[in-house]
Amino acid sequence: MKPLELLRRLGAFVTDRLWRLGFASRFLLMTVLYSGTALRRLHLTIREIYFSGVLSLIIILVSGLFVGMVLGLQGYDTLQRYGSSEALGVLVALSLVRELGPVVAALLFASRAGSAITAEIGLMKATEQLSAMEMMAVNPIARVVAPRFWAGVVSMPLLAALFSAMGIFGGYLVGVQLIGVDAGSFWSQMQAAVDFRQDILNGVIKSVVFGAIISWIAVFEGYDCEPTAEGVSGATTRTVVTSSLAILAADFVLTAFMFRGE
């Protein structure tokens, strides 16, 4: 390939990405502006909370339990070398509440609910349901997109809290029940070290932001996809890949803001 052709393709790629980012931002603004319907007809949003939140419960709870159990095992293995296995509770709780809870729950949510939202909206587009709505003077962004977006924003912090709580229970099961760390020290050291505002609330803020990012990407990819079987499957894959990368990048930025200098 000639260098000039390579440069032209690179330019086209960058322009295309920027155009998509601009369109996605305008789409998010429209979703927020048309959210009135989602709030007035609350059952639309509640139905979507059921599909994205309730149906993701099992994967979140089971993953949380196992992540907590692994943290308990690995944490004990490291801490007992320094004779401070009682600090296991602190290690498990801080890891979960600050980082793993919001991030892993968001990655699972993107794979389970985000991909489903994209596929659903993409199929609606492929079968011309969105066009039919427009024909009937029903705004598809208000009727289809906004309830799914807000359902993701509401579901995500609840799922992250459940993930963290289940993880702490998993850490307790392995550390206290299986290995024999003192239960009193496990809980008291945890309570002394985990701060409600600094750790728990910041974790909740993170998960709300992640919920908004995943829902935005999922509804946009679904709405913008090519209306063919191949287009829908490509959009579903893009949702998982883009939202996973966006979560990790946003996590770095949020962590830098929230916990700097500590």
Partner: protein, 158 residues
């Protein structure tokens, strides 16, 4: 699935999520034990505060009697000025000794209060006169090495 069943499941989901948050706040976090009640301010000057942080506990006889309010550097004396918020229920004699201790080998640092025998009590805003800085491991090791070297030198001279 009809709307009532979906509403029920979403209700259970929201209740579970809020319950998990409550569990994290009360059982895992220190929401119930963070703040002492009404407080009065004291100040203490330390040569070295080590890893002491704002909101670290002030303990006397192992009981939390207050928290560190602020830490700043005094440019006139080149020492650390630590503001302490002490629970109004507890009064301490003027010759109270404030030390910076570490809970356990790897634990957090806190300010320890050892009350003296003075009949007068510390008043709000007053300075705690007697203080002992945090133990800095590097200093202790270098002191030990220095003493050891001096000891060996003395033995050789004999």
């Amino acid at each position: 699935m009809n709307r009532a069943t979906i509403d029920l499941w979403v209700g259970i989901f929201v209740a579970l999520g809020l319950g998990a948050l409550l569990f994290l706040a009360l059982k895992a976090g220190n929401l119930t034990a963070t703040d002492v009640g009404e407080t009065y301010a004291l100040q203490a000057r330390f040569d070295n505060i080590g890893g002491l942080k704002v909101r670290a506990p002030v303990k006397s006889a192992g009981v939390v009697v207050g928290r560190v309010g602020e830490i700043r550097f005094d440019t006139e004396t080149y020492t650390a000025l630590v503001g302490l918020n002490i629970d109004k229920r507890y009064q301490f004699p003027r010759d109270t000794f404030a030390t910076i201790n570490t809970s356990g080998l790897l634990g957090e640092q806190y300010v320890g209060f050892e009350p003296g025998g003075d009949s007068e009590m510390l008043k709000p805003g007053e300075m705690v006169k007697k203080t002992q800085s945090a133990m800095v491991l590097e200093k202790l090791i270098s002191q030990f090495m220095f003493n050891k070297a001096q000891e060996d030198e003395g033995n050789n001279k004999k």
